[in-house]
Symmetry: C2
Subunit: 570 residues, 2 copies
Amino acid sequence: MPQHIVIIGAVALGSKAAARFKRLEPDSRVTLVDRGKLIAYSGCGIPYYVSGEVNEERELQSTAFHMLRDTEFFRKTKGVDVRIETEALAIDRKNRTVNLRHLPTGNEEILAYDQLVLATGSTPFQLRVPGTALQGVHTIQDPESARQIRSRIAGGKVKRAVVIGAGFIGMEMAVALADLWDVPTTVIEYRDQILPGVIGNNLARMAQRRMEQKGITFLLGEQAKAFESDDQTHVARVAMETTTLPADLVIVAVGVRPNSALARQAGLEVSERGAVQVDEYLRTSDPHIFAGGDCVDLRHLLTDMPVYLPMGSLANRQGRIIGDNLAGGRSKFSGVTGSWCVKLFDLAAAGTGLTLQGAKNAGFNALSVHVSQLDRAHFFPEKGLMSLELVIERDTGRMLGLQGLADMGDALVGKVNVVAALLPSAPNARMLSSLEMAYSPPFSAALDILNVLGNVADNILANRYRGIHADDFAAMWKEREHNDLFFLDCRETLEAEKYAHAHPEFWHNIPQGELAERLKDIPENHRLVLICNTGARAYEALVTLNNANFNDVVCVEGGMTALTAAGVQV
Amino acid sequence: MPQHIVIIGAVALGSKAAARFKRLEPDSRVTLVDRGKLIAYSGCGIPYYVSGEVNEERELQSTAFHMLRDTEFFRKTKGVDVRIETEALAIDRKNRTVNLRHLPTGNEEILAYDQLVLATGSTPFQLRVPGTALQGVHTIQDPESARQIRSRIAGGKVKRAVVIGAGFIGMEMAVALADLWDVPTTVIEYRDQILPGVIGNNLARMAQRRMEQKGITFLLGEQAKAFESDDQTHVARVAMETTTLPADLVIVAVGVRPNSALARQAGLEVSERGAVQVDEYLRTSDPHIFAGGDCVDLRHLLTDMPVYLPMGSLANRQGRIIGDNLAGGRSKFSGVTGSWCVKLFDLAAAGTGLTLQGAKNAGFNALSVHVSQLDRAHFFPEKGLMSLELVIERDTGRMLGLQGLADMGDALVGKVNVVAALLPSAPNARMLSSLEMAYSPPFSAALDILNVLGNVADNILANRYRGIHADDFAAMWKEREHNDLFFLDCRETLEAEKYAHAHPEFWHNIPQGELAERLKDIPENHRLVLICNTGARAYEALVTLNNANFNDVVCVEGGMTALTAAGVQV
């Protein structure tokens, strides 16, 4: 029997659910309601519109074959009735109606539904500090806010920009301002690293250094206290605890909150953080109402806890599932692991699953394995370094997450996606050793970096290998005069002598190939800290030393490459 | 108790097994024996040395930190004794000894072993035709043959080259000759497509056309009958059935055969094709003898049949496993799915698992799904088309293989690796719909192409979608005057009118958005053949038509893009 579906919100999930449902039930009626003028646009594309890489705003709203996904498009090609500039005021669950107001005219209307979909999305947080209403202070809400920012920059009015928040949007906006528009940009982040929560501290520092080389300034552990103006109209400065930064453009990118007022008023279950609660069919506590996208909590597949992950790719997949279920299907959205990637100038960062800290916070006894290697056959001319951190549970060897950085972004995303595909089945990290990855010198190393990660994880879990990270090394090196540490550089003399000359008392060099013949040069009763360029020779040396009954031996994971990238000075 | 391990063959697997074993049992002795002068080199790098992309032969033999892996390196850093230019003449399994001959001196020696490893590799097939001994006729055997080819080209002596065999090595050599050295090159392949056996016919034709645009000439279904000379010394021509090609360089790349004479003489089990038989621990029929790499058959994980896959990346992984098991471990090599990738000028081809034909040959009731889409957010400026063919079992929906082509090679290899990682667990193709792939506009589309493949597979398995491939379309179009076919172009009029004007009787155009209102223009009792640019709009039109009770409707998978790429003319 034909039914009437009303969908509140028409950006990512709403328009996808409408299209999928109409394909399955073409005789049913769908009404898509949105507060804004623009529908079905790519929110994730906004930073690239600001940067100018996407030339026209309408491209964000187009299909891959250049058709504008506007009201007319949905009516004509999808058979979906769209009401733009229309706000949903209230839901009457008993009578299954929703009250609408057409914003330009103020006309109100009561619309009956058989099933309702909440795709109300999210709203960026604004800071609770003076001056947020000044011109030039923006959150990234929709293409309109992007248009304002871009026209301000293009008009030559921006000499200095400040971005508040070093998450995905903050990083993308900083790159857009600095790379494409050449605007001197400072990023303020109140936590102690960039990309907090999604990548480990060591990789974050490596990425930060690369962005600093491109001219971005970072102020970590800092907060904006006020936005100040000279003319009471335009922003001129950002005041912090001890200092003040000049700025004629401020982007506030400190996260978003779910739009759930409508759901809450209707008595639907809403979480503490304000997200609509849904089951695995994306059904709310009312069986006639579905919800998805940026307004709901999802289940994290690794922690089995609710998680709030407002991401466009998830919304798209949920839209199809809601479309199926509106038509009587039983499609499931079983949960998320949190896969992501972001372009930071010519560096890519990507990840999936839990970070080491995230795993510990969730109660796992976790450790992480760091491997840096060329993501090509080493003899191939075009190549770049890839650094990966694999998070595993110590007792079981279960894989919990992978994060990484690389110059070759597609290659990195490919590695992360392999682990993302495997994570839901909770595999042991050792299985990475036996993955059959496609190999050819222009595209990978004969032993894929994922195979290497599996091998190193195996060595660690079998207690054959003990690695330390760049920050552990930095702490040890700082205490070099007070501890019984013996720092041993396992590289060839030519590579090591610079350091050995600078610190003759502390920096020792025995090339790995000569170690077996020079064991008498190694002191007993010391912790031996082994280092080479990427970690490979240090591991070989560790094996030699363990076999000679030196048992307190650690390797610097990723070697000098990891130290340099993390800004650790020797 | 310390043991003595003898390893015959020191290229990929042999040197890896030696190094792994010595790490686990440093007190045991390892002797690595090789007929050649060079050991531990990358055979897969040879075409890149010929092309000049790898400048020096020794780079193929170096570690990532530029150390030459020669006899001295293995002795000093690995504690492994290496005998080069030494041939293993016979194995005495009863007394556990192997007879060696030092080739330069002719000295013979009997070496006792506790465990033996056969890493004897493979030898390229030579054609059984007259003239193979002429100068300028080469197989790709080792760095020495590459050096000869390169010096011949660099000496300006090569005006025209012929490559025989359109497999991986043939393709890589053709690209090396034509791209880097600008030598006019013809490829002769006796089967009817390039990359036979590893990629489907449609994708093969697309790749072939791209290579033809770069100047390579292909002669498919042809065989060389003789190599001819003018001076009885140098090759001058390749004679075929009906024609003769001038050529002063001929590369014969028609596959390799396992080197198993030693194993056979020793009475070890050897397959019909001559490969040494091993179990999942890579142990031969003699429990004291292991074998791996290019001289063994492996188990195919999808067909459960023996398969011969001489690939460097597999040899590397097997080396580690043999190293473990020599030291008393129980590491398993459970089998292969056959993952591969190859660079064809600026196009990449890659795959894993079975092709459609391969699946049918193995007895599967298989079908394939073809999706072409941009491998970036469609609004992102830098992007390229990716075309994937997913092979699935019709009755169960089980995934059997994936092959593809793309301009962005790393991105393609990433997709193939995801499926390669999943294949061993025999998943349903529908699960691709719910993969959580990392998304950001510079790296992927919001709905990843793997998600799309899963969705299309779901629609096909649920009988909501019937696709045809470029070759099916070509056959139908050829018969357009004789059949009750109605060709319907679902694109906008501007896109379609060129074809509609050229074939007014046969090529009909109704934009997909207008279809629901123009159903009266569609004839009954015809098979409707729908086409658009990539297949997406044709699928939407198919849904509309099915719902209007048109039941014999098919879509051209990949649309005009697939036709053009496959060279199908309308």
